[in-house]
């Protein structure tokens, strides 16, 4: 194809090897690239601004000291109770959400007959739940879990609400991981006389673990970045102690950041920026673990 022009005498050739220039094509491609550049620039700008703004407060005060709303003490304020609150919430969300989510996924993927109407409703319900705004989950916590069930406004209520919020994500990610395990593994296990649960527990689940773990970590990182539902659940105050039990009052990093942003003073804004950097570092660490798990343990069938 590239050597067509050798047949025709030189001088009059139209080189087919060289493409015609199409300014419209080039402009279109550049426009598309620009879209990604905008997203990238926003990301870089956001992270560097947070680091720049919070730089002076990125020291031991941040995790050693407790939050305060008193202006004269602003330079001694930290977010220790929010760090502990975030860790509590993360642990509780994992304890509540992962077993329920993974078992649900096993049911839907391995056991459920998806021609049955109730299984289809289950599936549709999960898809729908994934799209419900997070503040609505806050209303569920406020109206139902805190008041009607009577768990109050402790860390357990916040954790249950966040666990329910990320449950659809855990289920959907776990189902994808289970689906990726080829049927031949199951057939081989059945052929050796294993029961359904033995097959699921000893063959399918171990094979799907990396995928499930990746989804679980990403869901947890979404849970600890979430602020809206907790606003309704009594976390928006300057809590000067770490949680010491399931019904203890608490605050979390995103809530504390929101709290600090409500104050007009520059000192509080810097502290908010420093807390943001800390939160982003935690999230980045979790995401890196998820990526490592995915790349290292992921099996291509």
């Amino acid at each position: 194809m590239t050597t067509v022009n050798t047949v025709i005498p030189a001088g009059k050739t139209v080189s087919l090897a060289r493409r015609r220039r199409r300014p419209g094509e080039v402009a279109f491609k550049l426009a598309l690239q620009l879209c990604l550049v905008i997203a990238l620039a926003f990301l870089v700008g956001l992270i560097s601004y947070a680091v720049f703004k919070g730089w002076n407060r990125l020291d031991a005060r941040l995790w050693n000291n407790m939050p305060t709303g008193i202006v004269s003490r602003a330079d001694r304020a930290g977010v220790q109770s929010a760090i502990f609150g975030t860790l509590w919430v993360m642990a509780l969300v994992a304890l509540i959400c992962l077993p329920i989510g993974i078992l649900s996924a096993i049911y839907l993927e391995e056991y459920a007959d998806n021609t049955r109407w109730y299984n289809r409703i289950l599936e549709l319900n999960i898809q729908n739940l994934a799209g419900v705004p997070s503040i609505i989950f806050g209303i569920l916590g406020l109206g139902m879990i805190a008041r009607v069930i009577g768990l109050g406004f402790g860390v357990i209520t916040g954790a249950i609400v966040l666990a329910l919020l990320v449950l659809p994500t855990v289920i959907i990610a776990s189902r994808e991981a289970l689906r990726a395990v080829p049927g031949s593994i199951r057939q081989a296990s059945y052929a050796l006389g294993a029961t359904k649960w033995q097959t699921t527990w000893r063959q399918v689940l171990p094979a799907a673990t990396p995928g499930i773990a990746t989804g679980a970590i990403l869901s947890l990182s979404r849970a600890i970045g979430e602020a809206a539902p907790l606003i309704l659940l009594g976390a928006v105050t300057y809590i000067r102690f770490n949680p010491d039990g399931l019904t203890s009052r608490y605050t979390t990093l995103p809530i504390q950041i929101y709290n600090l942003l409500k104050e007009p003073q520059a000192e509080f804004q810097e502290l908010a920026a420093a807390a943001i950097v800390l939160l982003l570092v935690i999230l980045l660490a979790m995401n890196s673990i998820a990526i490592i798990v995915r790349n290292r343990f992921h099996k291509k069938w």
Partner: protein, 313 residues
């Protein structure tokens, strides 16, 4: 495999499995776990519906839908959802104007132009963007982008310190990963044969992208946009931090501050409103309105996604 019982009359029927109570119990346990999500939905609907009914015993639906003032926390009380609804629609509209071109452009580039290596490099950017907490977006909008917007503003009257425009812009960027990832799925699902057919008819790359891939993936693209709209409608923290909490009258100027439905819920929910006061019930009435909107949009989106999956997979 057939029927061994036919040749050996005494043998047990192999076709019917032995009863295993343990196995059956496990299946029940798994089903119970799966029912938690149904219980969640039921809980959400119940916790919205009961106080909302109580609310409408005090306030007529007519006033709720038509009154142009929302002042439940003031001395002169008015319960018209329109100020909140209009602010929500304005912020959502701005975010959609930002998110559609950037999200679909990114998706088209990733699906049609980027090499496999490029894609591997670029997709994490969108994933990180999706993983950033929304309070952080709010922080960036309030303290960095809005001051820039104010200083660059050409007209005489500068935007407020919190305003719908900056909230909408930043929310648009927040929605980009949602739109881009679903739209890219839809575009990648378009079979290669369609593209090759178009190339064989001497189409250019841009023609293939805009006249073949785009229309073929349209239902998925619409689903992506609808889901993006639903995300923006339900987003709370950006609206609260960057858009402000002012409620009362209808504000149509996007450079002014106004409270969206979500921001109102967040604002009213922080205070210690006495339970069963009418003020407290407003949280649930507004929440129900928001839920209905997002529910409809999600249902449309789920249906459209199913459609494009059916066509090409």
């Amino acid at each position: 495999m057939g029927t061994p019982s036919a040749t050996v009359p005494a043998a047990p029927d192999v076709r019917r499995g032995r009863r295993r109570p343990g196995e059956a119990a496990i299946k029940v346990l798994l089903a119970v776990a799966a029912v938690v999500s149904i219980a969640t939905t039921t809980g959400i609907i119940a916790s919205l519906a009961v106080p909302t009914v109580e609310f409408f015993e005090e306030v007529s639906i007519g006033e709720f839908l038509t009154s142009a003032k929302w002042t439940p926390l003031f001395a002169d009380k008015n319960y018209g959802i329109l100020p909140l609804l209009i602010a929500t629609l304005i912020v959502t509209a701005i975010s959609v104007v930002i998110a559609i071109p950037i999200g679909l452009g990114s998706a088209l580039y990733l699906s049609e132009y980027a090499s496999a290596r490029m894609r591997k490099l670029l997709k994490p950017i969108l994933e990180i963007l999706a993983g950033i907490p929304t309070v952080v977006y709010g922080f960036f909008a309030l303290l960095f982008l809005n001051p820039i917007l104010r200083s660059l503003w050409p007209g005489g009257e500068k935007p407020d310190f919190q305003n719908m425009l900056i909230a909408g812009i930043v929310m648009g960027i927040m929605v980009v990963p949602t739109v881009a990832s679903l739209a890219e799925d839809a575009m990648s699902a378009v079979p290669g044969a369609l593209r090759e057919g178009a190339y064989a008819l001497s189409s250019t790359k841009m023609q293939v992208a805009t006249r073949v891939v785009f229309p073929a993936a349209l239902s998925g693209i619409v689903a992506a946009v609808v889901l993006g709209v639903s995300r923006a409608l339900g987003e709370t923290m950006i609206a609260t931090i960057a858009g402000g909490l002012r409620v009362a009258d209808i504000v149509v100027n996007p450079t002014q501050m106004a409270s969206t439905m979500t921001a109102y819920i967040a604002g009213a929910g922080q205070g210690d409103l006495p339970v069963d006061s009418l003020e407290y019930l407003t949280i649930f009435a507004v929440g129900s309105t928001l839920f209905v909107f997002t529910f409809i949009l999600n249902a449309i989106s789920i249906r459209l996604v199913r459609k494009f999956r059916e066509v090409y997979e």
